[in-house]
């Protein structure tokens, strides 16, 4: 578009405002003071001297990175120079907003009814003894779980029991089998495909006219194959890739040697855009952890370590129903996964503090979802006692832990792991489970999948549709989890390399299409949905990069 007014002044002011309010500003001032106190600086060149000193100290790079990450986090509407109400920024399309609201309400009801049925509160303060007990077991929560308390069960009395029809008794040895995931990808898929635009004529609601076979009935503008080819031009078959051309059976002088050398330079530069550019061809295994930090702008300092410790103490202080959901999720997914089971305890050390982290609330400014609200017991409806629940506003679904699991291969330090995951979540993963018209949102990704598959494999799509097996019904869970737990862990990491490098989730539907293409021969033979599911059940032998190349550049 570009026809509407750009507001560079506004942007500049925003950047300044952001920088000033970040902790970077204090550090910068401290450094500036240090520089100013150097004996070799003359009063006359005070300013120049301080500036030069700051550049040598790496502030140039730090500021560039900070601004880069700030700009990246800007909502996309800023590009058209238009800003609506906060509600509009979250989601401009009314009926999409309504669909998300209705979905949220359903989740709330489901959580509430779980509380009522099991007679447990959403949150309660842990007794002193239990706090200590949990602190001791902090690094091995997998053994007994967060809600387990040895000995007698505590009783949690409501301050004003008359408000609620039931008195909540806390069962210390809460049977985890009673806890069920609030929703699974399948439930969320129903929301996505159930969405209809009330302003759409009847012809429109069958699906957009060019792609009539799919399940998604909204017509967002999504990228076509040609646009995706341009976007992912680095995937061209003629280009060498990490993850293909650096395997042990390929002579290293063809690619790996140069790649490693270049990688070292990139790491030394510590500059986000450079790391991005480099990672478009994949991250060498031994450089990935660092490259991801650069791309995400994660740089730990002592405050971050303290902050994590604080979150941990919040976990100890209060027991949340959400903890049980997370615990159950880990038990259902990672614990039984032959790649991730070793990281079970790490997952709790990430997921539980994550649920207490109010920093996550910021992302709701650009997420179509809204954090659930509650009131402190006995203060129902009193606004001063309104709180978000859980503190980070994110209610986990079945499979949520799998967003963290692959990262455990990269970071052995829990704190580092935490911040990388947090950034990944507020930058990418949240889009995979909220209803939105955003081009990176799950609705758009689903559309890309359906349109690409229809355009590239029409006979396959038609055949599957005829036997009652809509492809999205299988591919949706892959995309919603960003393929974590479906592919071999090294392949998930190679895939996520590209999400970070291209700053886009659009690689997910492309891969999903590629998998359908790749298994086409077998899929053409299936007569039932479960047969199609069986053909696509085991993806652990698949190699991500050759598949992506196949889907984008084979025709």
């Amino acid at each position: 578009m570009g026809t509407l007014e750009q507001k560079p002044d506004n942007l500049l002011a925003n950047v300044l405002c952001y920088l000033r309010s970040s902790s970077l500003f204090n550090e910068l001032l401290c450094s500036a003071q240090d520089e100013a106190q150097r004996t070799n600086i003359r009063f006359t060149d005070l300013k120049k001297g301080v500036q030069n000193g700051l550049v040598t100290a790496g502030w140039d790079r730090k500021l560039r990175n900070a601004i880069y990450h700030f700009l990246q986090a800007q909502p996309s509407t800023a590009s058209s120079g238009v800003q609506g109400s906060p509600e509009q920024i979250k989601e401009p399309i009314t009926y999409v907003r309504k669909a998300q609201l209705a979905w949220e309400k359903k989740i709330l009801k489901s959580l509430n009814s779980m509380c009522t049925e099991l007679t447990i509160p959403l949150a309660r303060r842990r007794p002193e003894r239990e706090q200590k007990d949990m602190m001791v077991r902090w690094t091995e929560l997998g053994v007994d779980g967060p809600a387990f308390m040895r000995g007698s069960s505590g009783i949690c009395r409501g301050i004003a029991p008359h408000i609620l029809p039931i008195t909540f008794l806390w069962k210390a040895n809460l049977d985890l089998s009673q806890i069920r995931p609030v929703y699974a990808p399948k439930d969320f898929l129903d929301v996505v495909i159930g969405m209809q635009n009330p302003n759409c004529t009847s012809t429109g609601n069958i699906g957009s006219s060019d792609y009539p076979w799919g399940l998604v009935h909204v017509s967002m503008k999504v990228k076509t194959l040609n646009e995706l080819r341009l976007q992912y031009s680095e995937f061209a078959i003629t280009q060498c890739q990490t993850g293909i051309d650096d395997l042990p059976d390929v002579p290293p002088e063809l690619f790996d040697t140069d790649r490693t050398r270049l990688g070292r330079k990139v790491l030394a530069a510590k500059h986000a855009p450079i790391s991005r550019e480099f990672s478009k061809k994949g991250c060498p295994v031994s450089m990935r952890a660092e490259l991801w930090c650069h791309m995400l702008g994660v740089e730990l300092d002592n405050v971050d370590v303290l902050y994590y410790e604080q979150l941990k103490s919040y976990v100890l202080q209060h027991d949340l129903l959400v903890d049980n959901l997370l615990y159950k999720d880990v038990k259902l997914t990672a614990t039984n996964d032959d790649q991730y089971f070793v990281f079970e305890d790490f997952l709790y050390q990430i997921l539980l503090p994550f649920s207490r982290d109010t920093y996550i609330l910021k992302h709701f400014a650009y997420n179509s979802a809204t954090p659930p609200k509650s009131y402190i017991r006995g203060k129902l409806g009193v606004e001063e006692f309104a709180v978000t629940y859980p503190p980070n506003g994110v209610i986990p679904f079945h499979g949520f832990a799998m967003y963290v699991a692959p990262l455990c291969f990269l970071y052995n330090d829990v704190v580092q792991l935490y911040y990388v995951f947090r950034k990944m979540y507020i930058q990418y993963f949240f889009r995979l489970h909220s209803v939105s018209s955003h081009p990176q949102g799950i609705v758009s990704l689903s559309l890309i999948f359906e349109q690409l598959l229809q355009a590239e494999e029409p006979e396959l799509f038609y055949q599957l549709k005829q036997v009652g097996c809509q492809p999205l019904k299988i591919a949706f869970k892959w995309m919603m989890r960003a393929f974590s737990g479906f592919l071999a862990s090294d392949q998930v990491l190679l895939l996520w390399d590209r999400i970070l490098a291209f700053d886009s989730l659009e690689v997910l539907p492309v891969l999903a299409v590629a998998i359908f293409s790749f298994r086409k021969t077998n899929l053409m033979k299936v007569q039932t949905f479960s047969a199609a599911e069986a053909v696509l059940a085991d993806l652990f032998t698949l190699q991500v990069m050759p598949l992506l190349q196949l889907a984008l550049f084979s025709k």
Binding site: M1, L4, E5, K7, D9, N10, A13, L16, R20, S21, S22, S23, F25, N26, L29, Q33, R42, F43, T44, L46, T77, S80, V82, Q83, G84, S85, Q88, P92, I93, T94, V96, K105, L108, N112, T116, P121, L122, A123, R124, R125, G158, C200, T201, T203, G204, V218, S219, K221, H318, T358, Y359, P372, S374, I376, E384, A386, V387, Y389, P391, S437
Partner: protein
Amino acid sequence: MNDKPLSCNVKPAVSPTVDSRLGSQTGCKIIDITFPNVVNPEVGEIRFQNYYVAFLTVKAKIKLTEQTPREGPNDHGWRMVVRRLQLMPDPHTETGAQDCFVITRSQFVCELSQVVSLRLILQQPSPLWKDFSLEDLKLFKTSGGSRVPPLPSWFMEDDKPKANKKELEGVPDLDSLSTNLQQLWALAEEVSANQTEESLGRYEVDGCYDINLLAYS
């Protein structure tokens, strides 16, 4: 956004008809705006929330005066203000369909003073949508683009040495020294005033976070 929207009369959208059989299927609608209570109205900014309008054209009828003379024998004072501005990048898809837009003076083809009336021509070529219109339509006298807080002086200051000052060897320039020190002091003050955003967010109220059920709201 201190300035109030211009008082004006926005007429309901009408579809152009050749005879009464042609309804909304023309893909075109017209909104007329008049300014009954304003003397010499001047328009600097148009704001609205889109509702499935793909293209927007704005025309204005102005009072023909000496400053704005008649431009031909058939000139009845109609001027092109905005020519077919694309609001939806692809009329068949949702993108941009319900976005908020601000069209400012810099995008106008001509100056909008002495306006008698404005005519907004809405076009939607796609048959997918039942209806299209503009909502929350507001006009402003001036563009709101200058609402940016001024940049701090230290940011804008240039490095040119002040040439006309006498400089003594080895003795610092007292003026610049004191300005520099003042700036440092001001910066330090600002630090204390600016709480960093990274501060710990508390989620409980007075240490209490005992909750039973979620609120539907």
